[in-house]
């Protein structure tokens, strides 16, 4: 079996999420929640043997318990390629996740809607808040 997509961001992301929730949800359950008739699809996606179809992103996001906008971003690149994904995002905008919308609300509220610039010192502090 070949694994042409094993090094894509989407495959790595799916793998990481499956590993994180596998102690309380089987791959069979994930496949059912994602709308796959064949539970082997989860294995194929994990291995990078097949791509996640874009129309499956909402169902798969539900199965993996992640924000669909986040999964869509990584899947788009796997599905259409880096250049086409960048063009799509340029035309339609980058999907914003629910968490990101929450951070934007905080940013606006805490800055009294002053639209603050992201200067060097703020970047350093942000690394401390959100970095690994």
């Amino acid at each position: 079996m070949t694994h042409p997509h094993k090094d894509t961001a989407a495959t790595k992301f799916i793998n990481a999420r499956i590993n994180e929730i596998s102690h309380r949800k089987s791959q069979q359950e994930m496949a059912r929640e994602a709308g796959f008739k064949n539970s082997n699809m989860i294995t194929l996606l994990k291995l990078g043997s097949t791509k996640l179809a874009l129309d499956r992103v909402p169902g798969m996001a539900k199965a993996l318990e992640v924000d669909p906008a986040l999964l869509m971003r990584v899947t788009l690149e796997q599905s259409v390629g880096t250049t086409a994904a960048a063009a799509l995002i340029e035309c339609f905008g980058s999907p914003v996740t629910e968490n990101e919308q929450g951070w934007l609300d905080e940013l606006r509220d805490a800055s009294d809607n002053s639209d603050p610039r992201l200067a060097g010192r703020a970047r350093t502090a942000l690394r401390g808040i959100f970095g690994k």
Binding site: R17, S94, N99, A110, S111, P116, A125, G131, K132
Partner: protein, 62 residues
């Protein structure tokens, strides 16, 4: 990747064009430094962000 779970799945929000250039900068930078893990909102992080913004806004006003 412990930041990604348990967000409520919802439809895509195509609101990128409604953000200011500065707001896009903040969100893109958070995506990069968090390794795309979609950090969830915690009281600790909110407090730290507010402290940071107090400093940023007051220095911008000088």
């Amino acid at each position: 990747m412990s930041d990604t779970p348990f967000t409520t799945p919802r439809h895509m929000v195509p609101n990128w064009e409604n953000l200011t250039a500065n707001e896009r900068g903040w969100i893109e930078f958070i995506r990069i430094i968090s390794g795309g893990r979609d950090p969830r909102i915690t009281t600790e992080r909110v407090r730290a962000l507010r402290e940071l913004l107090d400093t940023v806004v007051s220095s911008d006003q000088r």
